[in-house]
Symmetry: C2
Subunit: 251 residues, 2 copies
């Protein structure tokens, strides 16, 4: 049963890309066929998976109907882990605000046709609520929301959940929030402990048991274009994402 | 001579809001009249300045012509530090991708008329290159680019500078990059030291001498809706932003 999961939070720098890439790597290592779809014009997930110069065409061209899905998906260096990037044109389109998302289900349609055979499709979302995020929310069955437990975290989460509700009514309860993930957890900070506690009180069913600790290995791995499993499988970051993958597989 | 400075970087979570709010506070403390314009639909700068429930109308209504600039600017709790927020409607507009920025100079025009009397107008930009960022780039004389020296930092910067060049040609060299600011500097991380060094080599004239250290006091201050000067003027974060203000005033 294929699962299309959007890794989503309009707040910037909370670990969406780090979570997409490393959760995908851990699911692939556990035997699941994974496709990462990089919906961010900044293409951080593409770089973090070591894909250096993809062809110019990507999701954008698939949505515009000029290229076929299968022609643009690339294998990464790891088994069962493939990537489809947004396309070089995405950044320019975002600037001109020409959304081509008068068809918000365009990505959903493309995935239905093109992404057969994957157990998991993970959508790395940009930090905004614009048209790219809308495409993701119309394509996903569920959401994982990374939350960095520092300032503004709870506001951003409330805002996301408020945005989600009308869409869920329209789409019959979909996408459901599969889980809220505490990321970059710094155990030395009192503020962080307070926020995690508050988060678990407000959303007892959604907050993952797994918490991803702050771990420089996660930055280093991405800089080298490797998943954390490839870079340092004994690091605290790797342990965290392996645990998350287990929790996701069990849910 | 009024200065309109956009605090801008399409990468998320690099310290744009923290820099806007605290640089404004330090400039105000140094006797300059400052206006913070919060262009992010998530209104983090508004919250970080302790402005709890502004009237629904904001920048959006000024651009739509339904409200006057002067009617919507609010005083903060600190002398010479005022705020104009984006407006409650901004988040919804971003979702519907109805940019109303077929007039990219709309904000520039509004500021020319409405922001007389301020020495500094600081524009807190959202983490995207969509229409809100475009409005900011057409309104600003200069840019401060906060850069968190971790993964993807240099890519994001190159991308921003590449975007800027055609606009600078069109606008006669404006906005110029007034400075690149290393934020959330964690002296324990080798990766960070390498990136800062690389940054200074690539952009010797633009990188500020001041580096803002990682300091939990900056998060705590924002959570309480206070500038770092009000919350903890002896903190390393406060010392950093005071130094930055001096560098900005001298440049
Ligand atoms: N657990 C962690 N420990 C240390 N650093 C981390 C961790 N998770 C992410 N990072 C680093 O923090 C920065 C932001 O993470 P990331 O790019 O994954 O966030 P994002 O939400 O995708 O950002 P954006 O909103 O710009 O897309 C990156 O430099 C990343 O390497
Ligand atoms: N020097 C610092 N030390 C510690 N924490 C910091 C520092 N600067 C910013 N932060 C914290 O890091 C997080 C991101 O900072 P901030 O919101 O200013 O970034 P941003 O670029 O405005 O994010 P966005 O792209 O979402 O607008 C916030 O929780 C903030 O309190
Ligand atoms: Mg990302
Ligand atoms: Mg911000």
């Amino acid at each position: 049963m294929q699962q299309i999961v959007a890794i989503s939070n309009q707040k910037g720098g909370v670990g969406k890309t780090t979570t997409t890439v490393n959760l995908a790597a851990c699911l692939a290592a556990a035997g699941r066929r994974c496709l990462v779809v990089d919906l961010d014009p900044q293409a951080n997930a593409t770089r973090a998976l070591g894909v250096d110069k993809p062809a110019d065409a990507g999701v954008l061209e698939i949505l515009q109907g000029t290229h076929a899905f299968g022609a643009l998906v690339v294998r990464t260096a790891w088994e069962r882990l493939d990537l489809l990037w947004g396309g070089a044109g995405l950044a320019e389109i975002e600037r001109r605000a020409v959304p081509l998302a008068d068809r918000p289900t365009a990505l959903a349609t493309a995935l239905t046709a093109g992404a057969l055979g994957y157990d998991f499709v993970l959508l790395d979302c940009p930090p905004s609520q614009g048209w790219l995020a809308t495409l993701a929310l119309h394509a996903a069955d569920s959401l994982i929301v990374p939350v960095q437990c520092e300032t503004f975290a709870l506001d951003a989460l409330d805002h996301l959940l408020a945005t989600l509700r009308p869409l869920q009514s329209e789409r019959g309860g979909v996408p459901r929030v599969r889980g809220i993930l505490c990321t970059m957890f710094d155990h030395e900070l009192a503020l962080t402990h307070d926020l995690v506690r508050e988060l678990r009180q407000r959303h007892p069913r959604e907050v993952f048991q797994t918490v991803i600790p702050r771990d420089i290995a996660l930055c280093e791995a991405a800089t080298l274009g490797q998943s954390i499993l490839a870079y340092d499988p004994t690091s605290r970051g790797a342990v965290g994402y392996v645990r998350l993958a287990k929790e996701v597989l069990a849910s």
